[in-house]
């Protein structure tokens, strides 16, 4: 029996099909032409032609984050490959599974400074979880399947495969995923039973507990989020979710106390600081959450569950560290809890909630919507209300609008909130929305952005409209790089250095040129109508909303400060002064 030979291009497409891939975000180039010729002759895999490779990676991230399946990128050699780097690092930081296929010059030209040659595996070694340079078409199928395995097992991440043109053109054998001998890469999934039991005992004995949920829970699949919800509701303990985990526990549940960290809620940060047991599931004690590490939650015993052993004791030392997949460990926790039926400290817990309710009473997200200038918080609160009752997806860019979105929009399910957390990549939002809408064509997808970020990948608006995707873009236009201005106001003597974006393009004309319906809203009274109009108008819609340039995101824990040094906004200062005045009067 003679072995069937396939071209490299066919092996790639066959491997993608066998890995249940239905869509690829790509941009063709010289060395990938033979692969594009095969793409032309098939209809199993949809190819979305993006405007820029970075946009392609963010689109794949949006696709991956909203479906739980790896996102696929296809770029050419040289500039095509280097354009993917920011997106790859973004996916690396936020643990998003991606497969990035890049073309490479013909094998015997590698190292000769050939046209559009770059040392792609060298450049992306620190930007990927792993990468490959394929040296034989016979090895291609194995590498493809192994890449999917590596990207999706353990802590997920981006994997890049560099494909010299002769490898794509050449012929080789195909092996199916199940015939690939698994590589000796076996991340630990199941946590140590003894440690899980100890963690359950500790949690049950807590008088002032907090369940602190991170992106690992989202990565562990929707079931993990549902188990977290079960655990929190069963115990009645307060729950906070990080920026990456919004939706892993329902925001509408009264046990949810908001996001922790630099722009987290007052109550979440005070709880993190004062708790006696911190139960971290799949979060990584990021510096934006911990603030000053030496002063972080000084009196608590800490449990940390993470699939990545290097995350344990990296930033914060913990009392019980459990290495394992959040879903597997949560299953064990619930089983142990069920078996032991521990008695929780109900009286102490009542006191704890009384304290939490006092902190909540501060109403840390309060803002003052006057009659003239639209407050961005008001716009987002209106958006939240308008979206209620639908199964919506939101992407953001990076900056003030991102933090306000995290504070004011509510998510009751995981995989509905896509944001660039770790790397903080401006230009993420629009292409991510493209990827999300491709994955969920019938769901409302809103990108909340602002002019600085929007301009960084605006070309993907064209991809959105060209593909008839009904993405809604809400541009909170404050004529300035808001977060930069905020820090300059607070920490640099109000020196507004190089943050002015006024006199920028006419966004309405620009949006229309890109094939969007566009509308402009300038007055608070029109905010609700504008947002409803945006959501109800079919096809892609761009809403340019003029908002207050001088608004700051509060609360704020200044960089390097402790949680209990949290700064509240001007409304609270006024309130405090008013209170004093009342006392004096």
């Amino acid at each position: 029996m003679t072995e069937h030979r396939y071209t490299g291009g066919d092996i790639i497409l066959k491997a993608l099909t066998d890995q249940d891939v239905d869509v690829v975000f790509g941009y063709p180039g010289g060395v990938t032409l033979p692969l594009y010729d095969r793409i032309y002759q098939q209809n199993k895999i949809r190819h979305i032609l993006v405007g820029h490779e970075q946009g392609g990676v963010h689109a794949a991230e949006g696709y991956a984050r909203s479906t739980g399946r790896p996102g696929i990128v296809l770029a050419t050699s040289g500039p095509g490959a280097t354009n993917t780097v920011t997106g790859l690092v973004d996916a690396m930081m936020d643990s998003i599974p991606l497969i990035c296929l890049t073309g490479q010059v013909v094998s015997n030209l590698i190292g000769n400074d050939a046209f559009q040659e770059a040392d792609t595996t060298g450049i992306t070694r620190a930007a990927t979880k792993h990468n490959y340079l394929v040296r034989s078409t016979d090895d291609l199928a194995r590498v493809m399947h192994e890449a999917f395995y590596v990207a999706t097992h353990g802590r997920p991440g981006p994997v890049l495969i560099d494909l010299p043109k002769d490898i794509i053109l050449g012929e080789g054998q195909y092996i199916a995923p199940e015939d690939v001998k698994p590589r000796n890469y076996n991340p630990k999934i199941k946590g140590e039973q003894e440690k899980i039991e100890a963690a359950v005992d500790l949690l049950a004995s807590a008088k002032k507990p907090i369940i602190y949920v991170g992106g690992g829970v989202v990565n562990a699949g929707p079931e993990a989020s549902h188990m977290v919800t079960q655990l929190v509701r069963m115990t009645g303990f307060p729950c906070t979710t990080t920026l990456m985990a919004l939706g892993a526990f329902p925001a509408s549940d009264p046990l949810f106390i908001g996001m922790p960290g630099m722009h987290g809620t007052y109550e979440a940060n005070m709880v993190m600081h004062d708790c006696d047991v911190m139960f971290n599931i799949g979060a990584r004690f990021d510096d934006r959450v911990t603030g000053k590490v030496d002063a972080f939650s000084p009196d608590s015993k800490k449990v940390h569950i993470d699939i990545d052993p290097s995350s344990l004791n990296k930033n914060v030392s913990v009392d019980i560290g459990i290495i394992g997949d959040a879903a597997s460990v949560l299953e064990d926790i619930l089983a142990i809890w069920d078996k032991k039926q521990p008695v929780i400290e109900s009286a102490a817990l009542k006191g704890w909630w009384k304290q939490i309710d006092e902190w909540r009473g501060v109403n840390c997200l309060a803002y003052d919507q006057g009659p003239k200038i639209i407050k961005p918080q008001f716009a987002l609160e209106t958006l939240k209300n308008a979206l209620a009752g639908t199964d919506y997806y939101v992407t953001t860019d990076v900056g003030q609008h991102q933090m306000w979105s995290a504070q004011f929009l509510h998510f009751d399910e995981p995989n509905r909130w896509m944001t660039s957390g770790g790397l903080g990549t401006m230009g993420y939002g629009v292409p991510a929305a493209l990827g999300v809408q491709v994955a969920h064509p019938d769901s409302p997808v809103v990108c909340v952005t602002s002019e600085g970020s929007l301009m960084m990948n605006i070309q993907e608006m064209n991809t959105i409209s060209k593909n008839g995707l009904p993405v809604k873009i809400l541009n909170l236009n404050n004529q300035i790089l808001g977060m930069i201005r905020q820090w300059q106001e607070l920490f640099h003597d109000n020196h507004e250095s190089e943050c002015d974006l006024s006199g920028g393009p006419d966004f309405i004309k620009l949006a229309e040129a890109f094939g969007f319906s566009a509308l402009q809203i300038n007055h608070p009274a029109d905010v609700e109508t504008g947002i409803r109009h945006m959501l109800e108008t079919p096809g892609p819609v761009f809403l340019n909303m003029a908002v207050d340039r001088n608004e700051c995101v509060f609360p704020m824990i200044p960089s390097g400060a402790a949680h209990n040094e949290i700064v509240l906004g001007p409304n609270h200062e006024m309130k405090t002064m008013d209170d004093k005045a009342n006392v004096m009067a």
Binding site: R125, K129, H130, R155, R183, P309, S310, K314, S317
Partner: protein
């Protein structure tokens, strides 16, 4: 928090890292150290199992206990890394280094150089009428001492392998 002196004290550690012998694997390991700001005091690498395609990298590094723990776990995250053992904490180990030491000289200096060579059991692997190349094998400390003793007699060049190490006793890595 780690307030105690032992936790923050910087110590030298020797890691033995078994890796798949594939393109770029050394770059991955070295890049991890430079990218995360860890020290490399010595590094050796060579294939040790051609059948399975494994190489062994021996790295001498230094850091506080938490840094050393991070180095171990970060190394384990790399996909081509099969095994990581910390020879400093996992038990006793043998550590050796080889150096080739060139000494130029004539007359009395030659005699003295040979005597020092004998004392350290260094082999002469090349000689001309005005030079010797000694090969010395031992702990880094022994190699250091040999070099400093022979230096005044006309030392002109040194090549050192860096440290290779293996755990003592019957156990496999």
């Amino acid at each position: 928090m780690n307030e105690t002196g032992t936790q923050n004290e910087t110590r030298s550690h020797t890691f033995s890292v078994l890796v798949d012998n594939e393109t770029g694997v050394l770059h991955r390991v070295v890049g991890l150290f430079s990218g995360r700001g860890y020290n490399i005091d010595s590094l050796t690498v060579s294939e040790v199992d051609p059948v399975s395609g494994y190489s062994k990298i021996t790295i001498v590094t230094s850091g506080s206990e938490s840094v050393i723990n991070q180095i171990r776990e970060q190394l384990r995250r790399l996909v081509p890394v099969q095994k990581v053992s910390d020879l400093t904490t996992d038990g006793r180990s043998v550590q050796r280094e080889l150096a080739l030491v060139k000494v130029n000289g004539t007359g009395e200096d030659r005699v003295d150089a040979m005597a020092i060579g004998d004392k350290f059991q260094a082999q002469i692997v090349d000689s001309t009428t005005e030079s010797f190349v000694f090969e010395i094998v031992g702990s880094s400390d022994t190699v250091d001492r040999f070099i400093s003793e022979i230096m005044p007699l006309g030392l002109v060049d040194v090549s050192r392998t860096g440290i290779v190490a293996i755990a003592r006793g019957a156990e496999e890595m």
